[in-house]
Subunit: 277 residues, 2 copies
DNA sequence: GCAATAGTGTCTATAAGACACTATCCG
DNA sequence: CGGATAGTGTCTTATAGACACTATTGC
């Protein structure tokens, strides 16, 4: 090979199969909130390895798509959700994390309003469920499926029937999760808690950016932090950081449910600002 | 295939070569500080693609190492530096980022004291240089090689001779960098500026954790933020966040150079706390 | 009126920024 | 003494947390 080779010549002669290569997958952590609780979408594996264990959804990154595009595709396949923003969490590359072969996983966080989630729990190819994320000390957590909760009520799979007949809630702990998924989820929760302080990620959980109340928004903060914020201090914080700076504006209408009607707000800037890094 | 297959049988029958796979590389951003300026290690490519362009070092992740281990190995090969902490920055996966083939890069940031860097600039396989990171508005930047600076003085390559004969400094801008490396560096600078506020990453630039002055530490903050901190406010900040909490402790000896001798400090906790996430 | 929810006001402690001042070395 | 660098003090404003209070609805 001459040193005076042009780039074109070089590329023609280049053999891209010289080295063995790992598989690359995109994993997605689909979080949602209901009231002031945080939920995570998990699927039950129907095949080896970790058959019957619960895992976060994911799939191989194909040659003609970015990792993010793969995550978006997977997300759509699992939940019919489109047009959401994803945040890259971390890339996991332990050599033995998958017993089949070398797999490197790029994990993404996606935050979806519960109302937009059409998770395909009826799909008999696999069980998909929203697990309550029950925070414990030190960023540890449990994933809980409440007996006869309304959230996964539509599910009519064998698994659901079994669960309904049991005496207690169904609880997943570290050892019950497939692969290194406990570690991934733990990191995701930590990341969300970190980012909620200085970014607007909480707004990505709102069902309607044109019509939300400060209480709805506070519940989202409470869900992620798993603690109840002081009402007065929270309002002051949102008004200073978002209303005074023109990101959110009051609507004319009020939300009437029980108690005093609530002022509703709308996000006044480009929607793409939500969840921008 | 029977549904009653055991995991062992499954793994035996599994064919891991079903899908085409991308190559995976680990790229490292080696930052260092001199006085209150930030420098980045770049290498000049000796082969296609982007022959003669400047790039951040990197290499393929092999099948028996994690991405982080690959980064550590690369780092050692380039700079003889060992025992440093790396921070995973981001994984870049655009389909066409490398014209040879599909390459996904996991980028790592490493912060090294200048004194510990033995960068192999004499190695005639490639030029390696420390570029001054010259910040501009909006997280943009230029990489500058000053004519006849002392930092890269040991270099005797053809490139250096050429540079010495020129009239002006050698400046790299976005278009002068290989692949998507401008974007990567930009993100790295942003990340460091974000993390320096609430983490102890600045300490990882200190040459001697058992003997440093607050002025040395302030210079590191200035280098990353590319602005000069107020001396009094900075001291108050460090004393509150680090001395009062017992992370750093005053030494008995003083550092005597010019002017009033400076109190030296040492990091009093486990060293592994430096740069922990 | 009462339960329920929305929303305000106030007090305190802490933190961030601007900036003037003092201290201690060398030569 | 003066130049150089280290280190202190003070004033102002912004922010965070605790917590008591008022407002507006339906029934």
């Amino acid at each position: 090979m001459s040193k005076q080779q042009t780039e074109k010549e070089f590329l023609k002669a280049y053999n891209p199969n010289k080295y063995e290569r790992p598989s690359v997958t995109a994993d997605i952590l689909v979080f949602t909130t209901i009231k002031d609780e945080l939920y995570l979408l998990m699927i039950q594996r129907k095949s080896h390895p970790y058959k019957d264990c619960w895992a976060i959804p994911g799939g191989f990154v194909s040659m003609d798509e970015t990792a993010k595009e793969a995550a978006i595709r997977e997300l759509y396949e699992e939940t019919s959700v489109k047009d959401v923003c994803l945040e890259q969490l971390y890339t996991f590359s332990k050599v033995d994390r998958d017993p089949r072969m070398r797999v490197i996983s790029i994990a993404y966080i996606v935050m979806v309003p519960f109302e937009k989630l059409q998770f395909k729990s009826g799909d008999d190819a696999k069980n998909a469920r929203l697990f309550l994320v029950k925070a414990q000390a030190n960023n540890e957590f449990e994933l809980v499926l409440k007996k006869k909760d309304k959230i996964n009520a539509k599910c009519t799979t064998d698994f659901q029937k079994e669960l309904d007949e049991k005496e207690e809630d169904f609880v997943l702990r570290e050892k019950d999760l497939a692969f290194d998924h406990y570690e991934i989820i733990k990191m995701a929760i930590k990341r969300m808690r970190g980012k909620i302080k200085y970014s607007n990620i909480a707004f990505s959980f709102l069902n309607d950016l044109d019509d939300f109340t400060l209480t709805e928004l506070r519940y989202i903060y409470d869900a992620i932090n798993s603690q109840k914020a002081d009402i007065g201090n929270f309002r002051r914080f949102i008004k200073r950081e978002y209303e005074q700076k023109g990101f959110i504006v009051q609507n004319n209408s009020k939300r009437i449910e029980r108690g005093r009607p609530a002022t509703t707000y709308n996000w006044a800037r480009e929607r793409s600002l939500i969840f921008d890094e």
